[in-house]
Symmetry: C2
Subunit: 395 residues, 2 copies
């Protein structure tokens, strides 16, 4: 369990497969985001049809509502949201530090205010680990102290040091829970499936590297994370939070040679199609972003020729599909004219159909990238892809 095998490389780009309790994930992979235990407007059947192999959910949101005890009682997060493939939960660090409202950081953890009912709550590294254990995802993230994108070095260093101390506490608590024999949801699932005698499913805990835009902090943090323990994967957080794109790309280029080659690398919160391509080019393996569903609900669709706003009048009586190269239900069933009508008439089906297409688009983009890497031709593929996506007129 939690084995990662690299099958091919092309420059820094890699194709791998990651085996976790609920299945195998081919990388590079895009994870749709199911913040509250549902990928907005999409059903598990939609996600399977879109080819999703791994879905992200948020510890903070699920802790605040409906609460991990409710989810445990309903059989764990997989059964709760009826998603039988791999799941990853973020630790809640990002949410606690980025949502509006009161928060107080101490060495112990973070006291904050629920965005749902205003109640005071506390998350510590141990609690975040226990909640994620209860939810029962295949991969869980360490609880981190996140600072704003533009934080100065002293602020970023302080948060990074704390994040490292918290990582040690997360890892210890996670080892204790693992030693107790698998998650409650995992045990129940094995009973349901008649495999009670099988060894417990192993949940993987991954560290998150912070450090803002300060390379020296990130290099030092990475070294200390790697010295701490062998990890089955590693995440890079705190990028794609408003800094110029060249800054992110430069950071990835500087970090890539220092990352353990044998572990999958998860670039958190990325992203848009052009970011995915650039990050795969720089050796990243896993990605998540709300863009496909959020933009879809706003009527913006990814296509090989760049984004299309389906509300535009030009689509009024256009019989063509949104994306002629796409195999999703939206593109194989409906015309641009109909999709525009759904948005102009404020019909719910439009939100779902564009979300579905955008998710499928990013999953297909990852599929295409894997094929290009296997051909050891990622560079030329990326050049052609960019020529069409970024400059559709010149194709």
């Amino acid at each position: 369990m939690n084995e990662f095998t690299i099958h091919a490389t092309s420059g820094a780009a890699r194709v791998g497969s990651l085996i976790v309790p609920h299945g195998t994930v081919e990388t590079p992979v895009f994870m749709p985001v199911g913040t509250q235990g549902t990928v907005r407007a999409l059903s598990p059947n939609d996600l399977r049809a879109a080819g999703a192999s791994l879905v992200l959910a948020n510890t903070y949101h699920l802790h605040v509502r409906p609460g991990e005890q409710v989810i445990e009682k309903l059989g764990g997060l997989h059964r709760f949201m009826a998603w039988d493939r791999p799941l990853l939960t973020d630790s809640g660090g990002f949410q606690v530090f980025s949502l509006e409202g009161f928060r107080r950081v101490s060495e112990d953890g973070v006291e904050f205010q629920s965005h749902v009912d205003g109640s005071r709550r506390t998350l510590t590294p141990e609690r975040a680990t226990e909640i994620q254990w209860t939810l029962g995802a295949d991969i869980v993230m360490a609880f981190d102290h996140v600072v704003p994108g533009g934080a100065d070095e002293a602020t970023a260093r302080d948060a990074m040091e704390r994040t490292l101390r918290w990582l040690e506490r997360c890892a210890r608590r996670h080892e204790e829970l693992t030693a107790q024999g698998g998650t409650a949801a995992g045990r129940q699932e094995r009973v349901d499936r008649g495999h009670a005698a099988l060894p417990p499913c192993r949940q993987a805990l991954w560290p998150i590297l912070q450090g803002g835009t300060h390379l020296v902090l990130r290099e030092g943090g990475l070294r200390r994370i790697c010295d701490m323990r062998p990890w089955t994967g590693l995440a890079i957080g705190g990028l794609s939070v408003g800094e110029p794109k060249p800054v992110m790309y430069g950071m990835l280029e500087a970090l890539e040679p220092r990352l353990p080659a044998a572990a999958p690398r998860y670039l958190m919160g990325v992203g848009f199609p052009e970011d995915l391509v650039a990050a795969v080019e720089r050796g990243m393996d896993l990605f998540d972003c709300v863009a496909p569903t959020r933009n879809g609900r706003n009527g913006s669709a990814f296509t090989p020729d760049g984004p299309v706003n389906i509300r535009n009048a030009e689509h009024r009586d256009d019989a063509r599909p949104l994306d002629e190269t796409c195999d999703c239900e939206t593109c194989t069933t409906f015309s641009r004219g109909y999709l525009r009508h759904l948005f102009v008439a404020e019909e719910l089906l439009g939100l779902r159909l564009l979300s579905l297409h955008n998710v499928r688009y990013l999953i297909r983009l990852a599929e295409e990238m894997r094929a290009a890497i296997r051909r050891n031709a990622f560079g030329s593929w990326a050049t052609n892809w960019r020529r069409r996506y970024l400059h559709p007129g010149s194709a």
Copy 2:
């Protein structure tokens, strides 16, 4: 085409099959309502999975937005909304008379204001017929003058007399269009399917009987409608608009023996489960209502034990399905606890899952009624059904 065959009866209740260009409809049947060319929150695949055999769309809404020319250019209403089974369009009469805003009735037709952009528009019997012809549904309705539910006899008589004169104009225009050889969409469809040599699909025009709660008006109107022409179906409008339920039931009982037995009877805008059962008991065959989707979006679900509000706290950690007897995706996949979470967290998937269940519920209810009629046991079935649905505690 447009043949109706009665296979079994039980009291006044009947089982029949109605053959229209896009397929066969078993009656009694519930039609989901796709006002703007989409059944709110549901896709054509959802509707097929729910067993929908006939869907209703609205002439007024589609004329105002996106306009019938756009739909014609996109291949007609069936192709526009990707619904390959039978379609029925309402004429726009009900909408023109019930939506807010300016309206002026003359013998020629109705001038009204678009709810979308405030523009002045006119619908006449001929225009309503032409628009529906362009849309290309299998069954279309005559343009009627609708008066409020509580209208006095003089007002209701005036509107009914006008509706009869308008019916004659609708029928003449419809005969002219039919003589020209099928709808444009139907012709295109036959070309696409390689059946260009087949005879044109026949669109059916059905009259609407009005008359408010005045039996004498309804009896007279019905006689004159039947004397006018042979019709392939007949609708009863202006009921279930706020009058007490016994008034509607009494009206149906009085009219039923006078209705042509060989034509399907469409009771417009009905309804809730108890209304469907009562109306089938009184010889009605087709029904439409926004209740399953509208109530579903509000978190209210039909179940054999009566309506359930999924937002209630009692469902918080309830692992049971919404309706243990139901075979829909919602009930076979998700717990009440998860569905409640979706509503409390204001997630779009909840709107869809409850809409889907409610539509499936009414379609299954019609299926159950057909089975009871075939057993010639509708009365006892209805008694048992009501005992459970209306008094769940005493079951």
